[in-house]
Amino acid sequence: MAENVTPRVRVPREASAGETISIRTLISHPMETGQRRDGDGNLIPRSIINRFVCSFNGETVLDVTIEPSVSTNPYFQFEAVVPESGTFTFTWYDDDGSVYEETADIAVN
């Protein structure tokens, strides 16, 4: 069970129609790979964010399947073309079933 999992996003507040914007996302999460051992020699069980989805006004922009190779506090930076004003929704899915969500509005002129 991961504690203190906090997502955050950086999306420009406004853009011109058809402009490509840069989006940065970060979520604090230990991303335990399942390969490490504790002091007694026992395997620490895997516990990672296994999927990250970004959608805009209901349409999927990015759908990432995450494997244990991604390290602590996964950081994604990507570009998106914004056709109109609306809301970006970011969703992170944890191995333990938790779902974290963050949104950001953008105004297009």
Binding site: T6, R10, R24, S28, S71, T72, N73, Y75
Partner: protein, 290 residues
């Protein structure tokens, strides 16, 4: 690439002194004409005249930021990209959490972390009540145990590093101004002596690397001047915050010596001395380093 040891110049002809003094500027990192402005607003001093007490041992002091690659440097320029800030946020939560028998949080007395602006810039400092030099970690534990009735944090533990990162972050941009005189003078002398003492099988002192060889490589490590204005620092090599005493322990262990412990009088004295070698630089913590 070699940095001329200024102490040896006395043996050479006097004429040579003026030109040889600039040899170190041929290094790719120093004199790069870069600047560090965090979040587009906090302007850092990364290069400045060495404090007087160094007595010519160094003429210019540089923040550790100068010695890192462009990519590493860029990570510190924005709080979103600085992984150390995640831990600062965790400490902000802890700051507001009631702990201990008194039912108080840090906020009960200090209102908000911003009210502690100025602390990082002047610590370690003499504490009259306890009759000794006090570090920020000692101060945090003093509040926890004496005023909140709570268990102290481990000196080099995760919650302590998070808290010192928070306390450093609210002082960013402030000039380091740690006192070397007054009641702390004796401790300061102790620290200076440790700095110039060779330790371990490798018989290396702090000065051997950080004063005589900054800018050079020791194996794969690109040596800085060993300034601590950016501590606690987020190191890419272990993906977490690292404290001053944690780093001291690492350095002495690297000379293959039996090292002092975090929180020991030796490291407190050394931290006081090393902090004053950076007087004039600005608080950068939490910084991003190798």
């Amino acid at each position: 690439m070699a940095k001329i040891n200024t102490k040896k110049l006395g043996l050479m002809g006097g004429v040579a002194v003026a030109t040889l003094g600039f040899a170190s500027l041929s290094l790719a990192d120093i004199g790069d004409d870069e600047s560090l402005i965090v979040n587009g607003e906090i302007e850092m001093v990364i290069e400045t005249e060495a404090p007087e007490h160094l007595d010519g041992a160094l003429r210019t002091i540089y923040s550790g930021w100068v010695f890192r690659t462009d990519e590493t440097q860029a990570m510190q320029a924005d709080d979103f990209d600085n992984p150390g800030m995640i831990f600062v946020d965790q400490a902000r939560d802890a700051f507001d959490t009631a702990m201990g028998t008194e039912g108080n949080s840090c906020a009960s007395c200090h209102e908000n972390p911003e009210s502690l602006r100025g602390v990082r810039a002047t610590y370690p400092q003499w504490d009259e009540e306890h009759g000794g030099v006090q570090t920020v970690e000692m101060q945090v534990n003093e509040c926890l145990t004496e005023r909140m009735g709570a268990e102290p944090y481990g000196y080099d533990s995760t919650p302590m590093r998070n808290m010192t990162a928070l306390i450093a972050s609210v002082s960013r941009g402030m000039e380091i101004n740690v006192a070397i005189d007054g009641p702390a003078a004796e401790t300061w002398e102790q620290g200076r002596e440790i700095y110039y003492t060779r330790y371990g099988i490798l018989e290396l002192s702090c000065a051997n690397c950080h004063e005589q060889n900054y800018g050079n490589n020791i194996r794969a490590d690109h040596l800085s001047q060993g300034q601590i204005n950016g501590f606690p620092t987020y190191r890419l090599r272990n993906a977490r915050l690292n404290s001053v005493h944690g780093r001291f322990r690492g350095c002495i262990r690297d000379t293959r010596a039996e090292t002092f412990s975090p929180g020991s009088p030796e490291f407190i004295a050394l931290e006081l001395y090393v902090a004053t070698r950076g007087n004039g630089l600005t608080v950068e913590g939490p910084s991003v380093r190798n």
